[in-house]
Symmetry: C2
Subunit: 192 residues, 2 copies
DNA sequence: TCGATTGTCTAGCGGTGCTAGGATCGAGTC
DNA sequence: GACTCGATCCTAGCACCGCTAGACAATCGA
């Protein structure tokens, strides 16, 4: 059985390589540059090998997105746990979220703009996505205000962050106002 | 000169036809279905004719986006002018915005998700885009609150709406909370 | 050692955005 | 009214895309 185990290990390793390479290529040259041919060349295998790991390009994007969701949840939790008081935590959350989106544009794109074939807000939502939302909920739930459901408040706050992230990336907002936008958002939305 | 004028008129008419057909096709079957071949077939001309009007597919998407911006500005102004008082106007604006995004998903996509080669938040921003932002500013400026610049407040409110619009379209939010999300957003952000 | 299974590759299909170059047509001139 | 010539449009084709069938080689179990 040892031989089979080794092969399985190698296969899993190659799958990680595919996802990591796709992500790297996307961050460096944009998702348009991530073609199955180029990806195959980078991992030094032929094109059809990709299809023995994933059903298609969509699924590869989805895999990058799931990795990203896990990382984003970690980043948010790390930032909020280092802050004192609800106000500081919300502020840290907002900055961590926007910072992640800005530092990993291709991953953020995979998560929200591209079709990675992922389910959301449903029963069959993948665990990393649920957990990323949970990470937001943990901090935002405590500043929802009286009579407002934590889930509802989190959706609205998250939508606002998402809007800022995407419009910023698309250069549709004035760069010099970035910091004040975050402050205004936190001040108005959060009840502390 | 009359012949030349007629030709110019016909050419402008054909250009409108291209944009209208692209939009219609995108709304019915999604932007993926809008290929230069299919578009050419629909307007009953050969493919290269498209390139005598636009530099490429990107520019066609951009043209659809500009049309959409004009319509959205109209929709927002119509909704706000029919409402009494600042609170009602902001609420009407939010609903009109989200309604437009939901009713014209392909146009909204062309405006904000796809690359239509348009400039934003800069000097060379096309007039319809500036005007659409101005339409938001007219109503939102009066509820920015003391010491908050209207432009800054409008950017934040707009980002929140944009986030709601895109996350809703991507089915990432709970549908049954839609109405309460808008109410919460307006209540918290606007100073009335 | 041999057959079967697994793994990988080459080659190719139908599609994409885009363009070069030739045919056609019609306006302006003699 | 015939002719020239420029504008207009189309056919054909390029390089690339995602994806897959089928040939081939390596490895496994008997």
């Amino acid at each position: 059985m040892s031989v089979q185990e080794r092969k399985q290990r190698e296969r899993a390793e190659r799958e990680r390589l595919i996802v990591a390479t796709a992500r790297e290529l996307a961050e460096k040259q944009g998702w348009d540059a991530v073609t199955t041919r180029r990806l195959a060349e980078r991992i030094e295998y032929s094109q059809p090998v990709l299809y023995s790991h994933f059903r298609g390009k969509r699924e590869i994007i989805g895999a990058v997105a799931l990795d990203g969701a896990t990382e984003m949840a970690e980043a948010v939790r790390a930032a909020t746990s280092a802050a004192d008081g609800p106000r500081a935590r919300v502020s840290a959350l907002a900055r961590a979220y926007l910072d992640f989106a800005e530092r990993n544009p291709a991953v953020y794109e995979a998560l929200f703009d591209l079709d990675g074939g992922l389910a959301f807000a449903r029963e069959d939502t993948p665990a990393p996505l649920k957990d990323a939302f949970a990470a937001l909920l943990e901090t935002l739930g405590e500043v929802a205000g009286d009579g407002v459901e934590p889930g509802l408040f989190t959706e609205v706050f998250w939508a606002a962050l998402h809007g800022l992230a995407t419009l910023t990336r698309a250069q549709r907002l004035l760069p010099e106002l970035a910091e004040r936008r975050v402050e205004l958002l936190v001040d108005r939305l959060a009840v502390v």
